[in-house]
């Protein structure tokens, strides 16, 4: 039983990895290439050494309670 379980888990890992590899190259990869061609940045990494501040506006305060039932 232990051997069967372990075999099953190993198969699961292989299948998961294969599926995630497809998602990574077909989904993440294509999006990344298109975004780079279009000049879109997903992480703001650049330094602005001449700028005065890196603070950005945030409006995190009380909202309607229904807004908090959402996970986004």
């Amino acid at each position: 039983m232990v051997g069967q379980k372990s075999f099953g888990e190993n198969i699961g890992v292989v299948v998961n990895s294969a599926l995630l590899s497809v998602v990574y190259f077909a989904g993440v990869g294509v999006t990344s290439i298109v975004a780079k061609i279009g000049g879109k940045k997903f992480l703001e990494k650049d330094l602005d050494e001449s700028g005065k501040s890196y603070w950005s506006d945030l409006s995190l305060g009380k909202k309607q309670i229904r807004e908090y039932y959402r996970q986004f």
Partner: protein, 589 residues
């Protein structure tokens, strides 16, 4: 009208926890690690939740509202953006990290159903709002400026704003990948320590380094990795980091800058390591000082509350009131992610349900406690030899005598502490006057790095005699959150708690918080002339602080603790050697 119960939960990153509010009062709170015995356990805190509910004899269906400490989909968006940005370098982390998102992190509602058979809707509060609420809404202040600084939440890594009555507004932020917390963690990893665990060791190492900006060779080097503006806002030069796409933190470029590869675990710390730690601490202090001065000028408020993992930097916390215009400060004892469960519950109760505030956090003993009958039953069932104190006076008198005779005492009383520090409920106590006590404690129990001193505990009204602390004494000192200088004339009298720079990470105690603990310190003072004890966490190296009588007894028998004082009983290790074992064979820290 019946009481309203609100449950707050945090999990799936590190330090999972649960907290329960009965109306506005925090009646129970605990971290999951204490039950599962896995340090910093991030798993769904089913044990902590069950403890919280059990403490009030209610079940999950009696809870009126349940809150979670972040917005999982927003966090997942950030993770996806990291991978898109870093393609194809992030392939390995994508394949290894994504399954846990689909199996649990994006299934919070289902986890409540599966683990607790709970079908109630869950309220999701943004991570930094939960941090802000965890400190402001339980603080003594009606109005205060708020700063939250941690590794990362959904996107935010640093935020500030203000709180007024029962409302919070965070108005500015710095976003991932720029993070002061992750900078600290990166250097922690570089020095061979574990991330999200050993940052405090780097803080403790820093005074051994060169704390002079002009002559520390690593200060200017580390300044190259961060661009700090006059208002304290900052960005990291991401070429020095790889944490946004790999499962490690420093890049090869950072290793080259600091003159060597990432250290292996357990390597002896040289002056170079100490100087790097010192440079990091100086830069961290510089950034936070600038931020706080900016927040003060923006908010015009004199009271300050802070939260997030960086708020556990007790070395800097002790300097805040001296370095900035703020007049008062409050930090909740569990300032890191574990503490956000109190934040979400308080935010729901006060802000969303519009209840006025009158509660102020002043009791850290929110974890499981055990009755005299429960303790006696445990001792009897396991054939443990013990003696019973006649009364509390006898307990204080005998225990203080043992401490004065340089015995190491496991002290188990009241409810378990909330937060990472032992505060006199699950503590190991000993005599700080003995110059060899640091060595003795390390040999017998703690086996910690030589550079780390032990912490002193002193009664609040005596603190000013021995320490150069702020006046009036800030309340966070009660939770071991501020480091102060020990007055020169006392340093050689209490060497075991005096750090290399003459400082001590003291805990102050007031009699109304923990009578026995307070009386014990006073009784020890009568014998020794100095009412200060060493207080260190009651745990085996690499394990969480003990929770139950079984954990405490097992810890004593696996280490060299001489006596366990538990409720009204005293257990001598040497009388129970049939249960002795060697904990060092099993440690992993």
């Amino acid at each position: 009208m019946g009481s309203k119960y609100v449950l707050g939960v945090s999990c799936f990153y590190h330090d999972a926890s649960a907290a329960l509010l009965k109306d506005e009062v925090v009646v129970a709170a605990a971290e999951e690690e204490r039950f599962t015995r896995k340090k910093h356990d991030a798993s769904f805190p089913v044990n902590a939740i069950k403890y919280c509910l059990g403490s009030q004899s209610i079940n999950i269906n009696d809870v009126d509202y349940i809150g979670f400490y972040e917005k999982p989909f927003l966090k997942f968006e950030r993770i996806l953006y990291q991978h898109i940005d870093s393609f194809p370098k992030s392939y390995k982390t994508f394949v290894s990290a994504l399954p846990s998102w689909f199996s649990e992190k994006l299934r919070v509602v289902k986890m409540f159903k599966k683990k607790l058979n709970c079908k109630k809707p869950i309220l999701f509060i943004e991570h930094h709002l939960a941090h802000a609420a965890s400190t402001f809404l339980v603080s003594p202040f009606k109005e205060a400026a708020i700063l939250t600084v941690d590794g990362v939440g959904e996107w935010t890594t640093t935020a500030y704003g203000f709180g007024k009555e029962n409302e919070i507004n965070l108005i500015k932020e710095i976003k991932f990948p720029h993070s002061l917390g992750l900078l600290y963690s990166t250097i922690t990893a570089y020095l061979g320590f574990s991330v999200n665990n050993s940052e405090y060791k780097v803080m403790g190492l820093s005074p051994y380094g060169n704390m002079d900006r002009k002559t520390n060779p690593y200060y200017d080097k580390l300044k190259q990795v961060i661009d700090i503006k006059q208002d304290g806002s900052y960005r990291l030069d991401m070429s020095y980091f790889v944490y946004h796409y790999k499962d490690r933190m420093p890049s090869q470029k950072l290793c080259n800058l600091l003159g060597g590869p990432v250290e292996k675990r357990g390597v002896d710390m040289t002056q170079r390591h100490k100087d790097i730690a010192a440079a990091l601490q100086m830069i961290t202090e510089e950034v936070i000082t600038k931020i706080l001065k900016h927040i003060h000028s923006e908010t015009k408020m004199d009271d300050l509350v802070i939260a997030g993992g960086v708020a556990l930097n007790s070395v800097y916390n002790g300097k805040i009131l001296r370095n900035t215009p703020f007049e008062k400060i409050w930090i909740q004892p569990n300032a890191s992610d574990g503490g956000t469960s109190i934040g979400v519950a308080s935010y729901i109760y006060h802000t969303l349900l519009r209840h006025k505030r009158s509660y102020k956090f002043d009791n850290a003993y929110l974890g499981p406690s055990f009755s005299t009958d429960e303790v006696k039953s445990f001792l009897d069932k396991n054939s443990i030899r013990y003696d019973t104190f006649k009364d509390e006076k006898d307990l204080i008198e005998k225990t203080s005598s043992l401490l004065f005779e340089d015995k190491v005492i496991g002290w188990f009383q009241k409810g378990m502490e909330w937060g990472p520090r032992a505060l006199g409920a699950r503590s190991i106590l000993s005599n700080p006057l003995n110059p060899k006590m640091q060595e003795i404690l390390n040999a017998k129990v703690k086996h910690r790095e030589k550079f780390r001193p032990f912490a002193p505990v002193v009664c609040a009204e005596d603190a000013k005699v021995y320490f150069d602390c702020d006046d009036p004494l800030p309340e966070p000192v009660d939770y071991m959150l501020m480091v102060y200088s020990i007055k020169e004339k006392w340093r050689n009298k209490i060497p075991s708690v005096t750090h290399v720079d003459g400082s001590g990470r003291l805990q102050t105690i007031r009699r109304n918080q923990n009578r026995q603990y307070y009386d014990l310190i006073k009784a020890f003072g009568k014998k020794s002339g100095i009412p200060i004890l060493i207080n260190t966490s009651f745990n085996i190296r690499g394990e969480p602080i003990v929770c139950t009588p079984y954990d405490a007894y097992k810890c004593m028998m696996g280490t060299g603790i001489d006596y366990l004082v538990i409720d009204k009983f005293i257990v001598k290790r040497d009388n129970n050697l049939q249960h002795a074992w060697d904990s060092e064979k099993y440690t992993n820290d």
